[in-house]
């Protein structure tokens, strides 16, 4: 993964971007309120495959992007803007 297609700045080197966090809902199977908080704060799906996450264009337009990426190969599948 060497470059990201920023919707505002175009194709830019990956060094300009900062990884934010994965975007995920707490699993619906967890119903207890405390367990849901615990999951949201600490736990992770840690998916092996496609994942949706936020990246920050720190050395560019300084806006957040939503990126879909495959963690098996560390390649970008698409930019949701």
């Amino acid at each position: 993964m060497l470059r990201l297609d920023c919707p505002r700045c175009g194709r830019r080197p990956i060094d300009e971007f900062a990884y934010g966090a994965e975007r995920r809902p707490v699993p619906a199977s967890i119903t207890d309120a405390d367990a849901r908080d615990l999951d949201a704060v600490w736990f992770s799906d840690n998916p092996e495959g496609p994942t949706t996450e936020r990246w920050f264009h720190a050395a560019g337009c300084r806006r957040w992007l939503t990126v879909r990426r495959d963690t098996r190969t560390d390649t970008v599948i698409g930019i949701d803007g």
Binding site: I14, S44, N46, E48, E53, R69, R72
Partner: protein
Amino acid sequence: MTAGRYVDTLPPLRWDEPRRSYDVVIVGGGGHGLATAYYLATRHGLTDVAVVEADYIASGNTGRNTTIIRANYGIPEAIRFYEHSLELYAGLEDETGAEILHQEKGLIWLAHTETALRAERARCQLNTACGAETVMVTPAEIKALVPQIDLTGGGRYPILGASHHLRAATARHDRVAWAFASGAMARGVQVVQHAPVTGLLRRGDRVVGVETPLGRIEAGTVVSAVGGRVTTLAAMAGVRLPIRTHPLHAFVTNDFGQAFPRIVSDTELLCYVSQTERGQMLIGAEFDAQPSYSRRSSIAALRAYAAKVTHILPFLRDLRILRAWAGSCDISADFSPIMGATGVPGFLVTTGWGTWGFKAIPAGGEAMAELIATGRAPDLIAPFALDRFARDHVLADQGSTGTR
């Protein structure tokens, strides 16, 4: 030291067909899995044990790390644990009879700012108080310890001082795995290679075995010593983990003609350098910010590491990168390992080994073996249980060069 001496100590390894059931099945034939089996056999006389490995032993992070053994962490629980591991490593050749090329080198952690100096002074106090001797050294003393260093840091990162962790060491990583494997095999433990676990056998709440392409294997206790895909395995037991898996890159250069007998690490540039027994310079740095299971090295990482490390060790500019690789670091939410019960009967984990797993192999294996044999987590690892997150007793410790 002659080549023959090392060849002669190559330990005998034997591979048998797996049986249908065992008292203990350990998933993952890396250092932690093999050490757990070894200590179950040697300390507790439990030999009805199998280690089930998806690929070949030490093919994961055990064979991919930069082999540094040290104890200078940031919280007392961690320092005591890693100090014990450091001591077990120092005695491992005598105990097993296998040559692991253990060399005590000392680790120098460079500081470039007043803030970093203060942090290193505090680290020295805490580490020495907890038994891991660490002292401050001046720039002149650093130059005497590492003559190749540029104290001006290429004009950009002047070296103001360092902490010197005296007993830090390195050892040959695959030989560590082979030593534990052969020691365990000699006592009746079976190690099964090329058997990826595809499912867990359940009976009610309990985990009672594993499914592999070689068939089902029943077990009184299943232990996950998996690196990388631990989240997937734990999910099969219904256990969620506070872990994200990130790649960490490393590389070696061609041979450097001089001796480089210390380990040099940098608090600001976040990289670490040592010399292999063959004379190559071995360099690693911080893990990639984005999680990934890819083990491909990237030119972006190599470029970044090389740019950092040549500031303090300019002689590296004249060398060439010989090999580069990556491993999968399971980074826990508080940067400390997770060892012990999971809340699911019959299923234990030793995970969250991030960038600090190799140095922990003997102590982690010994403690997990005691937990399995006695049903009680020894004091050394009790604070590292998974339920610490629910109890608000997290062990925040970014005590590794790769994690700050």
